[in-house]
Every structure is written in C-alpha cells, then in structure tokens.
C-alpha cells in the first residue's frame, strides 16, 4: 500500500516535472522564434548598413583612383605641352637672334627708341645695346638729340636699354624684355595652335 502511494506520488511528480519541462521548452522555443523573428528586421537593417557602408567605401576608393589617375594624365599632358611651347620659343628666339639686321630692322630700332624716350619723357639718354645692333642703333641715334650710345655692350637678343643720363630711370626695350612682358600671351597663342585654350 505504502509502496503504491509512493509510486503514485513519484509518478505525479514526474508528470508535473515533465509538464513543466515541456512547457518551459515550448516557452523557450516560442521565445526563440519571437527573438529570431524580431531580429530579422534588425539583421536586415544591419545588412543594409553594411552594404551601404561598403558602397560608400567603394565610391570613395573609386573617386580616389579616378581622381589621381585623371590628375596624373592631365599633368603629363601639361608637361608635354610645356615642352612643345618651350621648343617653339627656343626656335623663335634663335631665328630672332640670327635675323638679318639690314632693311626694316633700322625701323624697328627707331620705334623701340621712340617708345623708350617717350616713356622716360626725355631724349637726354644713354642707350645700351648688343654688338650686333650697335651699328644700326648708332646710325639711328642721330634722330634723338642728346642721346648717346654707351660703349658698354649688353647681352641680349637685340633692341635697346635706355637710361636717363642721371641714371635715375631705365627703360628696358630690348627684344628679350618685350618677349618677357608678352610671354603669357605668346604662350597662350602657341598653346592654341596645339588645340589648348581659346
């Protein structure tokens, strides 16, 4: 009798425990399913964020690569253009240097002297020139009363450097100085022949 009561009690406890365990397992399963279900949108959000961050990073890297490649190509083009411009310049300067000093050249010297004396406001000047232009300048100076030719020769392509006799003012009207003043415009002109700029 006692053993059957004990058996019943044990069975009852076992049943209850089983029920509790099953209920706990079911609840845990339910909780897990809910957690899983709830985490799906969060996961999707995370996934979207990772994708979007990755895309941003990729865009950034693409910009870096394309930007620096573009710049490198542009810089090489600039250097090539500059080389070409320099060559044109050198050739032109060579031609000017070796130009024939007869004929119209005297008129050029006269107009250079005209400009310079007008700008300085006096013909009471000392004129410097190079060895090649010395004779032309000397013969033209007779038209400028008070002007003297300096015995000191200067190193230039041609033209004149004019100084007031007191030495206070100088006007450099040598061909070198004129080219220097107009260099940006001449560069532009040469570059346009290569299809760059206006």
């Amino acid at each position: 009798m006692a053993s059957s009561t004990l058996e019943n009690t044990i069975n009852k406890i076992l049943d209850q425990t089983e029920k509790t365990i099953i209920s706990d397992v079911e609840s845990a399963l339910h909780d897990s399913i809910t957690t899983l279900e709830n985490s799906v949108p969060k996961l999707e959000q995370e996934f979207d964020k990772i994708i979007s961050d990755g895309k941003k990073e990729a865009d950034k890297i693409e910009k870096q690569i394309v930007g620096s490649a573009d710049l490198e190509a542009r810089n090489k083009q600039l250097m090539a253009l500059e080389d070409a411009v320099t060559r044109v310049f050198e050739k032109s300067l060579d031609e000017i240097k070796n130009a024939d000093r007869s004929g119209d050249y005297a008129n050029l010297i006269k107009s250079l002297l005209d400009d310079a004396t007008k700008i300085l406001g006096t013909t009471n000047v000392v004129v410097h020139t190079n060895s090649k232009d010395k004779d032309v300048v000397s013969s033209t100076l007779s038209q400028f009363p008070g002007a003297e030719l300096s015995s000191e020769l200067v190193d230039c392509l041609g033209g004149v450097i004019v100084k007031s006799k007191d030495g206070a003012m100088t006007f450099d009207n040598s061909i070198d100085a004129r080219i220097d003043r107009l260099k940006p415009l001449i560069r532009k002109e040469i570059a346009s022949k290569f299809g760059v700029g206006n």
């Binding site: 394309v66 620096s68 710049l71 542009r74 700008i119 003012m169 006007f171 940006p184 570059a191």
Partner: protein
C-alpha cells in the same frame, strides 16, 4: 598707370618695414604692380599704396629683408596684379601670390584678371537659396550652408578648425543638380605641416581634381597674406561666373590676414584702431567677404567659408566682431567640447546660419528639416540648463523628463556632433540621427514639429 609700364627707378628714398619709398616717380598709379630688383638680381613683387609729390610708397609682398637703398631698383609694371585663369587651374597648387607650387608650369591662361575683382552690382545679386552638402552633420543639419552664402567658422588657437576645413573641402557637394562643383582653398599663414596636410588630404581623397589650392605658409612673408585671399577669390569668380561652376571658397586663417594688414598699417604710421588694427579693417574685410554670391543670369555661385581663430577665444575681438557684421551667420567652435574630445566641436547654441531657412525644406533637403532642427536646438538648450541644474542639486534631484533631456544632450554630442574626419554623412543620414535623438523624448515634449512628421519619423522604442 605709368603709360606702357616697365620704367625702372633707382632712387630709393627709404625702406621701412614692408614698405619701399621710391623717389622721382612720374605716372605711377595706385595699386600698380612693382617689381623690386635686389643687387643680386632677385626680383620681388610689390604694389603701389600711395603716390604723390614725386614719391611712390610700394608695399613689397615678399618682404624687404636684404634690400638696401643703394642697390635696389623698382620697376613699375604699368598694370595691377593679375591672376592668369583658365579651367586648367583646377587640380593645381599655387603659393600665396598665385605662382605654381606643384612643379608644373604656369597655367595657360584664358584671361588675366585683376585680383581686386569687380564689385558685384547689388541689383544683379540673386538671393542664395540652394543647399550645399558638406557631409558634416552639424553643419548640414543645424547650420546649413547655402550656395552664395558667406558663413565663417570662429575657432580658437589649437582647435580642430583645419581638420574641419579639410573635411569640408573633401566632402562638399551640390545635390540634385549636375552642375560642376569646385573648391578653392586658400591657406593663409598656416604651418608647413598644415599646408602639407591640406594638400595630401585633397590628393588622397581624389578631391584635388576639382580643387585649387593656394598655400601661404607661416614662413612666407606676412605681406603676401594680403594677396592670398584675393588671388583665390579671383579664381573662384572666374570658375563661377565664366565657367558656371558652384565654387566653395575656404579661407583659413583670416586672423593671419588681419595681422598682416596691421603690420602694413603700423609701417605706414596710420592711426591705429582697436587692438592696433587699422580703422579700415571692416572695409578691408568686406572687400573679401562681399566677393561671395550669385548673379542673375549666371549659372555659378561663390560660397565662402572663411575661418578665423579668435585670439584668447574672445568673440568680441575686432576680427570676429567685424567679420560677424559682414557675413551671414557664424559657426562657433567651443573650447569645452574640444576638451571633451568632440569633433567637430561646434557649439550650436552660439552658431547660426542666417540663410538656412531658404536653403532647406521640401525640394532642397526634406520637408521636416527646419522643424526637426528647431526641436533639437530647443532640446539641446534645455539639456544645457538641466546640466547646470544637476551641478547644483545633483542628478538625484532631477525629474524623469529632466533626465531624458540630459541623456539627449549626451547623445547629441556623442552621436550627432561627433563624426570621424573621413565620415561623409548624407543629409538623409543626418536627419535620421536628429529624429533618433528627438525620439528619446516623449511625444508631448515635441512641440515644434507638425504631427504628420512626428507620425512619419518618430521612432517608438
């Protein structure tokens, strides 16, 4: 101008600070460019500040160190200082006087433009109303920058304004349009390391391609700094009004510019104004700041972000004070936030973009932008009051709602304000964070936003 120009004078009467006084000068003109030739044949540039009684006062940009009265010549060039401009200036690095600093040749110029610019006809000005995205949340969300606006950054010594400047230069863009965008960056009197940082930062991010850099470093003569913002703005105006680009000009640091101006003024023995700056500091600054804007019938725009470091963090100092009169708002960097390690340390309660309201909202950013921004201003302001209160009564003495505001203040600084230097946030992301902050408050505390937006964007916990 001195006729055709090119006359060289050899009678130097005096050399005083950055000024050379030339004697027996005829026909020189105000602002005329002058080439100073030293006894070694070195050439320096200068400009005429004053002419009269046969004398010309020349301001030498590269300083007068090493010049002597006996062996110096001054050649008056016959034109004002000009900047050669063309599309080719994009991607180039120049010094403070506009000479190439990147080892490449001078740009082939489409035209040569007077660096002093031409005043914009006020009647031709168009009201700025289009959004510029900087990718920096606090600027885009709370102190929005608008195309054609001039919005200075007031910083302090040692603060992270240069990081912010470089980040804006790298990330800034115009959205909703295919128009070209360019950045003109002028570094005025910055350290060599900072100049290198700007250059590398733009190069490595690929943003140099659409940028033009003018770098005047601290070891360059101070007087050169007078020219740097002007050459930068000349290029910006060309890109904007001739090539139709939207150009953002960043000028850092305008305090160095004003100090160069003070140096010249002192050398000219002018009557000093506040803190020794010349009385015309306001007028002079306006000749720079007013070169921002949009013009009727022109596609492009010039937007300016001048950066200035306030001596002793003093916002009443003449430089920020006078700048504030001319510009359309200010972004103020806070020392407290900087000390906390917040980047960018923008103190929004002292900052304001006066044109923001016209550049945001439907069609520009998002319909709720203005209202969410106002709500966050209000909440952050309340958070500051609560923090002050907590300092007296302790956290335990605060109500639940006070604590929520306090949390919102912390979140604002840690999640919205704080941003990595390479983090480029879209305006949608920025507004998303603002809504996340506001959603920390109960709905009945949200009083500045229409219900329809609250329903749409409020994030229930």
């Amino acid at each position: 101008m001195s006729g055709q120009g090119g006359v060289q004078y050899s009678k130097i009467a005096e050399i005083k600070g950055p000024l050379v006084i030339v004697d027996d000068v005829d026909n020189a003109a105000f602002d005329e460019l002058v080439e100073i030739e030293t006894k070694d044949g070195e050439r320096r540039l200068g400009k005429v500040l004053e002419v009269g009684n046969g004398k010309a006062i020349v301001q030498v940009f590269e300083g007068t160190t090493g010049l002597s009265i006996a062996a110096t010549n001054a050649k008056f060039v016959g034109k004002v200082m000009e900047m050669p401009v063309s599309r080719e200036v994009l991607g180039r690095v120049f010094d403070g006087l506009g000479r190439p600093k990147d080892g490449l040749p001078d740009p082939i110029a489409d035209s040569f433009i007077d660096i002093n610019g031409e005043p914009m006809n006020p009647e031709q000005r168009e009201y700025p109303k289009d959004f510029i995205q900087t990718g920096v949340s606090v600027i885009d969300g709370m102190i929005t920058l608008v195309r054609g606006q001039k919005l200075p950054i007031f910083s302090g010594s040692g603060m992270s304004h240069n990081l912010l400047a470089a980040q804006i230069a790298r990330q800034a863009s115009v959205i909703g349009t295919q128009d070209d965008f360019a950045v003109v960056f002028a570094a005025i009197g910055v350290q060599y390391s900072e100049a290198e940082y700007f250059r590398r930062s733009l190069e490595e991010s690929g943003a140099l391609k659409r940028s033009v850099l003018f770098l005047n470093t601290a070891d360059d003569p101070a007087i050169e700094r007078i020219i740097t913002p002007r050459v930068a703005l000349t290029v910006a105006e060309y890109l904007a009004f001739e090539l139709g680009m939207h150009v953002l000009v960043i000028l850092t640091d305008m305090t160095n510019y004003a100090e160069a101006l003070r140096e010249i003024s002192a050398a000219r023995e002018e009557v000093p104004g506040r803190k020794g700056y010349p009385g015309y500091l306001y007028t002079d600054l306006s000749t720079i700041y007013e070169r921002a804007g949009k013009l009727n019938g022109k596609k492009g725009s010039v937007t300016q972000v001048p950066i200035l470091s306030m001596p002793s963090d003093d916002i009443t100092h003449p430089i920020p004070d006078l700048t504030g009169y001319i510009t359309e708002g200010q972004i103020v960097l806070g020392r407290d936030l900087f000390r906390q390690g917040v980047y960018p340390p923008v103190n929004i309660l002292m900052s304001l973009s006066r044109l923001m309201k016209d550049g945001i909202g439907e069609g520009s950013t998002r319909a709720d932008h203005g209202e969410i921004s106002n709500q966050v201003y209000d909440a952050y302001s309340r958070a500051q009051e609560v923090r002050a209160l907590a300092g007296i009564v302790g956290k335990a003495g605060l109500t639940d709602i006070d604590l929520k505001y306090m949390d919102l203040g912390d979140m604002f600084e840690n999640q919205f304000l704080s941003q990595a230097t390479d983090e480029n946030r879209t305006i949608e992301e920025t507004l998303g964070i603002l809504w996340k902050l506001v959603s920390k408050l109960p709905k009945n505390e949200i009083t500045k936003i229409k219900d329809k937006y609250v329903e749409q964007y409020y994030q229930e916990e």
